[in-house]
Symmetry: C2
Subunit: 637 residues, 2 copies
């Protein structure tokens, strides 16, 4: 039984998630959660699992971990020490945000009650002066704002503001947004020009303040966000002066993504938000350079970001270890956030491509098939010991996943001055308002990414000329077939990764796109020593891996793939809600002798090769069956 | 001009470094620093550089970093805050130890004055109750012994004790050993049965206490050392309960090297020291298992230990990243200490083999050709950015190197009940006392490791039967030729990695050993994914690398080595004091296109191959010329 029932009528408020509707320098406008409906396909079960399982499990973790008790303690309703990490409040806020987005398109008495109870606790925990961070209750009150680099008070405030924005947009209630505004005002009274120097040691508050400005229409929050971004790289430092905090140089001078990956990506998100509002060219220049460097030298094939466990850092160019990839789930989520903002700014498909890759691989692997277990780190190779957990001492990732998946329908479409943008092929319906007071309903029917056929029905409420933008991922480009009302387009216009179908649309028009999903073998740049002599198998946006569960007794690390292997796909309805599984003939290479010593003369070794069928599954689906070795980058035969 | 002059007569006291002379359960007995003289060859310049350059440079770093001022401050002679890491005292102690060992075989007015001044500062900084750690002076005095897992007070005490033992053995002075004993007594009054629970959060004090017991003959220090080792893994924990501190289970139950590598290795050293004194079988069992696991799954081909930057940890089985190897210089040194102790316990050549590998590669790479720059981490591949530094904020490694190199002659020989053990082929002379009041002088003439010929003159003071043990590294075993007085031995006895030449020796007897130094290509176990498809070039004990400086414009990461390459050696007198350089024909593989994207369809790439000469230099010699890429593990053609 589903926890929620689908509402019988769509509410009036569209519920944008990142609201660029009035951002002067954003090319694209949001399509809100209440304008999109998932209709089966790949994403419906994922979002439903998030709604039906994840939110419930995480709420119980918030209770079990003491996170909600921390609010009760700060409110004077409970005795006892603060429990968990000093920024644990943010986990509760992320959950409220996730639950709010979920309630945009359905109601659930239990979920609504939990949200309102949590909002009540948050309200009760706030200090009279607006300060709110339950770690700094009681004796620790004297330490407020004394350790900005480490103590995450602004990061936590940012998550409160994001939750409040979501709660207000969905419920219309002022309860939580009032708490958030009081905290923002407290911060504004404390920091800023002529007041205290200081900035967010873990960015988060900046993009939240931009969203608060968008919600309230108050420019002061933009100014505060901008002031915080501008504090980076000051002399003397207001944070730490260290690359770890992206505080080594001014943001506008930054060209290389360095330091803590999530901190960096959230900072870039904020700069993109501000660029959408201000049109700052120096911000755009920095963002373009940071994007280019990150995506040409420091990103995993999965879209994962953050090579290093130490300092959870981006790592150097081409430093992309597989087994010890950090690739934090939060970094993948942050990467989606950043890619989305860059896409809204520009309408450039390369941001869409990165978003889709991260979403299907680096993000989705973070949650298990069950919906209540999560990865923090996401290695690309493993011996079978890395498994998901129900929660973490540092529990940032699980509720971050929940809020992204709860808001997922908002990432499917945008509008612009000249038409409707379809970003992700996904079974869905959208009702969008286009310029000229044209309302258009678009329905996608597709089993993408498992099948390449996408049928798109376009139903404007009256005949109207506008462009329909459809994504053409770089890997499919030369092979993509597009038909409008059954007739193949010989040479449709292609603009920066999108097909631009500009015509006079009438009710009942149908577009058919056939995306080529032939499995492909990717090689990494030769400087990536970890991937040398290896290939990654991908099909459409899905990165595959060899997992032991599918490959019998032969250790998957001993399998080899020929460069010209013929891969066959079959849909396995049992695997994580149904996935296409790929198989091909390859080789099993065993080395004799196989025991110690660790290093042996090459001439004393013998390698035995025999044909062996390889079976590959989507990377996001791994670690849902019996534990065993896994690898994405397969050595070539 | 040399800083020191060689003494004209050998002093009476032999100056053992690890004194197993009276250890009931050690098979081997030490040969002290005053019993050995280096006579050119490989090691003389290394030890002389340590004496003439390193000790001077490090003393000036101790001044510049405020480390000596910390003692002045604690002694009330100087105002100002403590400077540097909280365990910086240990750097001064290691330097005193290194200087003391150096003074065993030569005098230097300047060095002696610096030692005595430093000893005077240490004396003056000690509290009346015996406590000594200058970080915990002034206001921080209240925090003494309150954070054992982190604050390194016992580790620092251990280094004081080691320095004091060295100082006493070399100078005969009681000045520093009295300070050390007062501190040890303070610790003994504070911790132990019926007193406070607690143990060393960073092992170090335990092996120092064993050495103090050996020096003083007082069993109480053995008991205290043993008590500390026994505190590991208690319930409730006395340290942290975490694998990081090897505190997750009792030492005797430990079978897997986990946690912080240097902490672990120092703990294992202490357990080996205790086993030499007590004969504990459970200790031996744990040590054997830890050794086996470490050396069959978790050691670099260089002998480096510690795969991970995060928590400076051992890492999992077969987790041996090259570019991001941590391989701390201190861990390599600790590995030598542990191997030496296991060798003294057992006379088993596998410990000698590991010691030699670590010494020539993982240890020696830690110091630059100049003698005053050092590595902390030691990657096995690099893009040319990793360079040595004169000092570090955490400066544990440089003076640790200094003390090991200052005591190096003590690692060349041992004695046992039945003879003399030669552990390292090295140009040197030893005067050893054997059972039966036989005094034997042995002289080695050799250019090992550059040449394989070793001529050993054996001169007992009277004809006597004893065994001369000569190392037969596993890689040379079938090819080693041994001649005694010109006559080749057909089938000399081989016992656990040593040739056992047992005969009646007479003055003038000569042994010639020819060690095969044919370059070899090593392959790693197939589970080491980082080395898959790659080989390491070694010659004798020396691990080679490709460094950009020798290989023209072709990026060394693009070079490939054929499995049957013919390697030619030539001696380059200019390279780091003279090294054999190896070269062979290989291939240069360039990939087109070479720019972004990071991931590309395999079929869209083209690899171009052309013959290219490869030039390889000893790994320890790298990063002494212009910066550039380097790698040990070369992809196979």
């Amino acid at each position: 039984m589903s926890l929620l029932e689908r509402p019988t009528s769509v509410e009036t408020a569209p519920v944008p998630v990142v609201d660029t509707a009035r951002s002067p320098h954003a090319r694209l406008r949001p399509v809100g959660l209440r304008q999109v409906r998932l209709t089966g396909g790949f994403w419906s079960p994922v979002v439903e699992r998030n709604r039906d399982v994840t939110l419930d499990a995480q709420y119980r973790q918030l209770e079990a971990s003491g996170t909600l008790d921390n609010f009760r303690g700060a409110a004077g309703r409970l005795d006892g020490d603060f429990q968990g990490m000093w920024f644990a409040d943010s986990d509760a806020y992320k959950w409220v945000e996730a639950a709010s987005w979920t309630l945009a398109t359905g109601h659930s008495t239990q979920l609504e009650r939990r949200v309102e109870e949590t909002v009540g606790l948050i309200f009760a925990a706030q200090e009279p002066d607006g300060y709110l961070d339950t770690y700094f209750s009681g004796e620790r009150a004297a330490l407020r704002w004394t350790d900005l680099p480490t103590m995450h008070e602004m990061y936590t405030a940012g998550h409160l503001i994001q939750a409040a924005v979501a709660h207000q947009r969905v419920t219309g209630s002022g309860d939580l947004i009032e708490v958030a505004v009081r905290l923002a005002e407290h911060i504004e009274r404390t920091f800023g020009p002529g007041r205290r120097l200081g900035a967010d040691g873990h960015p988060g508050v900046e993009m939240a303040l931009v969203e608060l400005a968008r919600l309230t229409g108050e420019g002061r929050w933009l100014e505060l966000a901008s002031w915080f971004v501008e504090q980076h790289g000051r002399t003397p430092p207001t944070i730490s002066g260290r690359p770890y905090h992206q505080d080594h140089i001014r943001f506008t001078g930054q060209r290389e993504p360095v330091g803590h990956a999530v901190r960096g990506l959230y900072l870039y998100c904020a700069a993109a938000d501000l660029a959408a509002e201000t049109g700052s060219e120096p911000y755009r220049d920095a963002l373009d350079a940071l994007w280019e460097r990150l995506h040409s030298r420091r990103v995993y094939v999965t879209g994962g970001i953050g090579a290093r466990w130490d300092h959870e850092a981006f790592g150097d160019d081409d430093e992309l270890p597989n087994r010890r990839a950090h690739a934090e789930t939060c970094a993948a989520i942050a990467s989606v956030f950043w890619a989305w903002r860059m896409l809204q700014l520009s309408g450039d498909g390369r941001y869409r491509d990165a978003l889709e890759t991260a979403l299907f691989n680096a993000v989705l692997v973070g949650v298990g098939a069950c919906g209540d277990e999560f990865f923090y780190q996401n290695p690309l190779a493993d011996r079978g010991t890395h498994r998901r957990s129900a929660w973490f001492p540092c529990a940032c990732c699980p509720p971050n996943l929940a809020r992204l998946l709860a808001s997922l329908p908002s990432y499917l479409y945008s509008t612009s001055d000249d038409g409707l943008w379809l970003h992700l092929y996904a079974a869905s319906e959208v009702v969008a308002e286009l310029p000229g007071a044209v309302s258009v309903t678009v329905a996608q029917r597709t089993a993408y990414p498992w099948e390449g056929e996408v049928v798109i029905e376009v139903n404007p409420d009256r005949p109207a000329e506008f462009a329909l933008y459809l994504p053409i991922p770089p890997w499919t480009s030369p092979r993509t077939r597009v038909r409008v009302n059954g007739r193949e387009l010989a040479d449709p216009a292609r603009v920066r990764g999108y097909l631009e179908l500009r015509r006079s649309w009438q009710a009942g028009d149908t577009v058919q796109v056939t995306v080529d999903l032939t499995p492909r073998l990717l090689a990494a740049h030769p400087r990536v020593e970890d991937d040398q002599g290896r290939v990654a198998l991908v099909r459409g946006p899905i990165v595959y891996c060899l997992e032991q569960a599918d490959n019998g007794d032969a250790d998957v690390w001993d399998l080899r793939v020929p460069h010209d292997a013929t891969w066959e796909g079959r849909f396995d309805p049992e695997l994580v809600g149904g996935c296409v599984v790929l198989s091909a003939m390859g080789e099993l290479v065993t080395t004799e002798p196989s025991g110690p010593p660790l290093y042996r003369e090459l001439s004393s070794q013998e390698q035995r090769r025999r044909p062996q069928r390889l079976t590959a599954v989507p990377y996001f689906a791994w670690a849902n069956r019996e534990p065993g070795p896994m690898e994405i980058w397969i050595p070539m035969a």
